[in-house]
Amino acid sequence: MTQTDTDTSPTAASVPTSIPARRRNLVQMLELDLRLLGMVAAFAVLCIGFDLLTGGRFLTPRNIFNLTIQTVSVAIMACGMVFVIVTRNIDLSVGALLATCSAVMAMTQTRILPETLGLGLGHPLIPWITILAGLLVGTLIGAFQGYLVGYLTIPAFIVTLGGFLVWRNVAWYMTSGQTIGPLDQTFVKFGGISGTLGVTGSWIVGVLALAAALYGLWGARRNKIKHGFTVKPLWAEAALAGLIAVAILGFVAVLNAYEIPTRRLERMFEARGEVMPEGFTQGYGIPISVLVLIFIAVAMTVLARRTRLGRYIFATGGNPDAAELSGINTRLLTVKIFALMGALCAISAVVASARLANHSNDIGTLDELRVIAAAVIGGTALAGGAGTIHGAILGALIMQSLQSGMAMVGVDAPLQNIVVGAVLVLAVLIDILYRKRTGEA
């Protein structure tokens, strides 16, 4: 198809100075923020609404802590799903793949390493070898599915629909359908409640994160000035920095405010052969699983925005033929994306099984739908070419809040799912309307 749209004659096209163009860019940037802001606002309304309905039980440190650790597993996979959907593919097998990885890791740490290889239960290397094994299996299965999609050109929908059945039942077969546990003591620290940084550790992480965020802001501003672009006024920059500080430190403060129950503390002291002092309290702080999620989110964002691989992913999503003609090996790219998805499923499997402290046969059931919904609610376009990591994580958080909130309010289980389904469709509709309004394709 030849582009015959020649409405821009040389004179009409000539923007006399570059100032109008730059102003438009600023507006565009704000619009980009608007989209995120809209999602944050929706999330805030949701939280406050549930808090009112539950008489203040929703926004307690305890519930926020629980919400956070419940979201991690789906959020980690949603990060990978963004890339899958951006390249116009889909992965219906993530929940089943999580189950297979979980089964492999459960067997590795409770049977293979301690018994077959004779390391003995509780050996310090067990959790790490286990996680490596899980990552390897997840990555290989993902790469294999990617190969089927990329090289043998079987539609991703079919490959992963098959995978959905295959991997769920491979997990079942490996464990004979039994619940495997208890899992290794160090391994379960990745689950959430049994592995947190404590109050001091959390403050340190919070301050470091804040420093990194501010440095990022400052670096971006300096770069813009260096290239002669207009920058936000200083007060706006300061307000933004303040907002980030409040968000990060507030989050840490809330997680720190959730105190370890007295009985549990007593048991911890007993285990060390000490007696707990009267009136001793301690907060949980940031769960290790949340730290893992934050690390993955940052890494995936850098991957998406600042690496060649990320470019190729978005270019391929925007126009697969153009990407191929530009010398991008789109087949290999597909393998890489699915392999990455598989690796993230394995990490999610660590978090999910560690949270339960065992591997159960139904682990990860329906996660594929939650993960896809999270990515889509977070603004990933099924048509390909557009999507963000932070959006997907926010999407996961919204889904989880909706589910937990309704459970707390006492909404019947069938109604809960009806609402979640309706919200998914509504979110996509709003996104479509928004894109139409702003003229995005």
């Binding site: 582009q3 015959t4 020649t6 821009t8 565009q28 600042r306 978005f314 126009n319 153009a322 003609l325």
Partner: protein, 261 residues
């Protein structure tokens, strides 16, 4: 425009010999041979669906030929994909432009060959600076550097595609209707660009429906009809009407019968 003088004994920069490709039962390109010398512009002419784009896509790696051979500087080469073509310094402006609509001009220009910082991260600022430089040469009115190319006009998109092909020091340049969407001024600039690239010793295949352009810019013209080569002529030896006759009737100038299949 006068043709660069070349001796017949020169090894051609590109030789495509006996190229064939069919889609289903359609012989899109049927035993076609063309060649191109350094510093020469060869026009490819023919009716819609004659097989011009398909022929050059075998050179650019977009299609794999069913049979035939490609020689570069006399050496036989295998071109299986666009990466192979780029390795031989073949750059292509596709008729469809082949742009990723969701990315901006700089990202498209450097797609597959991004500039990176010492840490291996994509250097967006450097790419935009380079893009501004090359666009200033091609289309000085171009100002939409941070919008996705879907927000550009047809001509602006075409400018981006041209910039991409000429930025990377091509030795062999394929231009498939490069000025179809351009305004008169931009078309003029592309003509000047072609003349300049030619003087730098680059070989150019130029597909165009504009006989006037071909007469002005090209040294030779190859005419295709229904997937077959009608003939190749020196433009200095023929008139507009001769070329038209070749395109429409498939007859060689000064020859009564048509070589039609």
């Amino acid at each position: 425009m006068t043709g660069t003088k070349r001796t017949k004994a020169d090894t051609p920069l590109v030789e495509m010999r006996d190229m064939c490709i069919s889609f289903g039962g359609v012989h899109a390109v049927d035993h076609v041979s063309v060649d191109l010398h350094a510093g020469e512009v060869v026009g490819l002419l023919g009716h819609n669906g004659a097989g011009k784009s398909t022929l050059i896509k075998m050179l650019s790696g977009a299609y794999k030929a069913d049979s035939g051979e490609i020689r570069i500087n006399g050496e036989r080469v295998e071109i299986h994909n666009p990466r192979d073509a780029r390795r031989h310094n073949i750059e292509t402006i596709y008729q469809t432009l082949a742009l990723a609509d969701n990315l901006d001009a700089a990202s498209n220009l450097f797609l597959g060959r991004e500039l990176v910082t010492p840490f291996g991260l994509v250097d967006e600022d450097a790419m935009e600076a380079e893009t501004r430089k090359i666009m200033a040469r091609l289309n000085p009115n171009f100002a939409k550097f941070s919008e996705p190319v879907s927000a550009l006009s047809g001509g602006q998109r075409q400018s981006v595609a041209i910039a991409r092909a000429v930025y990377f020091n091509a030795r062999i340049l394929i231009m498939d209707e490069p000025t179809a969407a351009l305004g008169p001024h931009e078309t003029q600039m592309v003509s000047e660009l072609i003349t300049q690239l030619k003087s730098e010793g680059i070989g150019i295949f130029l597909i165009s429906h504009d006989i006037h352009d071909v007469m002005e810019l090209c040294d030779r013209a190859s005419v295709m009809k229904n997937g077959k080569l009608v003939g190749t002529v020196d433009v200095d030896d023929v008139t507009d009407d001769d070329l038209l006759g070749m395109i429409i009737l498939g007859k060689q100038p000064g020859q009564a019968s048509a070589t039609e299949g």
